[in-house]
Structures are given as C-alpha cells and as structure tokens.
Amino acid sequence: MTSTRKAAANKRNASLSTGPRTLGGKQRSSLNSYRHGLATPIAKHTSAAVNIDRLATVLAAYSNDYWRIEKARVVAESHFDLARIRVARAEVLWRVGGFENCVGDELDQALSALEKIARYEQRTRSKLRGSLEAMLDP
C-alpha cells in the first residue's frame, strides 16, 4: 500500500504538470492532434459558413420548403468541403516536394495520407449525390 507521505508527494508532483497554463501554450497544444482538419464540419468555419448560407439560399431558389433548404444546404456544404479536401490533398503533395521526391518513406507517408483524405472525399461525394438526386426529383 502507498504510504501517506508518498501519496502526498505524488499529488504535489502531479500538480506541477497539468498541461499548459498560458494562453499561447493552450492554443499551441490545442493543435497537437490536428492532422488535416477534415473531420471538423465545414459549417463550423465562420468564413465558410457565411458563403455556405448564401449559396444554399440561392440553390433552394429562396424557397420556404424546409426539406428543399436542407438539401440545398448539404449541396452547398459539400462543395465547400470538396474545396477544403482539395487544399488538404495539395498540401500533402506539396509537403512531399511535388513530384521531385518520389521514392522512400516520404512517398509511402504521402500515399497513406492521400488515402485517408480520399475517404473523406468519398463520404462528401456520396452526401452530395444523395442531396442532388433529392433536389432534382420533381
């Protein structure tokens, strides 16, 4: 069994390492697990949300029909999401040095990252297709 003295020392030591304390440190560590940002819904990005709203309204032809607006919103979101996916993909290719460095571990890592991104793209495209079909249905 742990002695009281040891437990107190553990408690004291643990209180010394409770993560970043300054605002800068907290901001930096909040990006620790950041990979490509594609898991975050696009509508959560303030700049994209405004554009998505505008596009969705036009796609729904200023309708008041709830379902039409919802489908239009999915179509608009998907298109902005696809744009974000393209940026993430270009980023991977750029990091590997374009087409200059095409052998070794860097290439394997790039291909694996691209495969992960492709999964996000497939998901977005299937969402887009479903909503488009529903929108085009008379």
Binding site: N51, R54, L55, T57, V58, L59, V75, H79, F80, L82, A83, R86, V87, R89, A90, E91, L93, W94, G97, G98, F99, E100, N101, C102, V103, L107, D108, L111, L114, E115, A118, Q122, R125, R129, L132, M135, L136
Partner: protein, 211 residues
Amino acid sequence: MANDSYTAENMKDDFEIPDEVLPLVLAHPRLLPGETRDEFYLMLELMFSTILPDTELEWLTTIDLAWLQWEIQRYRRWKNAIIMSNRTAAVESVLCRTHEGAAMSGAMSMIRAESKMHAREMSINPNAHRDVRAKLESHGYDTDAINAAAFVRSLVPLATIEKFLSSARHQVMMTLREVGLRREFERRAREAMKRIDTNQTPPEEAEQTEA
C-alpha cells in the same frame, strides 16, 4: 488582356459567374512545382466556355469537373515521376551488383556512392557514361530490363495512384452524366411549360387526333 496571365478576376469579367459561386472560383489553387496559375485558369476557362453553365448547380458541377481534371493530370505526372525516380534507383542497384569490386569486403559503401552518382548523372543526361551503359548491357541490363526493374519497384505506389486516378475518372463520368441529365431535364421541362402556355398538344398526340 494586358498581360499574358489569366486570372480569376479576368474570368469574372468574361463569364457571368454567380456571386454565390465566386468564392469557389476565386480560391487560388495550391500549386506544385512545375504547375502555373495561368495553366489552371486557362483550363477553367476552357471548361466554362465549353460547358456554358447557366444555373448555380451547373456552375458548381463545372468547377468540380475542372478540379477533377486538374487532379487527373497531377496523378498522371506523379506516376511518370515515380517511374523515373525508380529508374534511377534501379540503375543504381544494378550498377552496385555488376561492379567489379562488389565481392571485395569493405568496398560496398564506396561502390554504392559511385553507383548513386553515376545513376543520377545518367538520369539527367542520357548520353553520360556511355562506358557504364555498355557495361550494363554486357551484363544483360538493356533499357527494357532497367525499365522493367523500375516498374517492379514502383508497383505499390503506382497501384495506389491508379486507384486515385480511376476514382477521379469515375467522378468525372458521373458528373458529366449529371450535367447531361440536368440539361436534358431542363430542356424538356421548358418545352413542356411552353406547350402548356400556348396550349399545344405534343406532335405525336396531334397526329393521333387527326387520324
């Protein structure tokens, strides 16, 4: 145009791009070495002038199509680059194996460095090291054999890129079909509405009534 470079701003003037779609057109592409912005916007312009989108949905579809095409070109270039890189690696490996001093102990690091240098020089200048090339051929490694070795080395990454490529091609086909269907739907819908307005009957029905 004042200069040769074609930009999204030029495009905005040339085509009536809906304001809501503009952010997607104006988003500058992240270019890779060897790519130019002009090239991208010229391709986009070609797409716009060929497809002539008129609704927001068609504009979105056209932009998507242009990007898919751009990515297909990228994958093709990447495949070529991978084969070329692996060709250099294959030449290097063959040079190591066929080197006179390969059996000598302790000489391997020097042989590897020399082979690497020769392989790199030969990839840049096809006429370099004719003697080395002749030596390779005397060991049975002609151009075809080296190409085959490079292809075998590239097999795994090429298969992955081919998967991306075929997925992008599939998306292009689907998108083209969508554009076609929508246009056709719109045309038929317009025709139907026009007929309703003028109270016309379809030609087939008119013939039957006359008979």
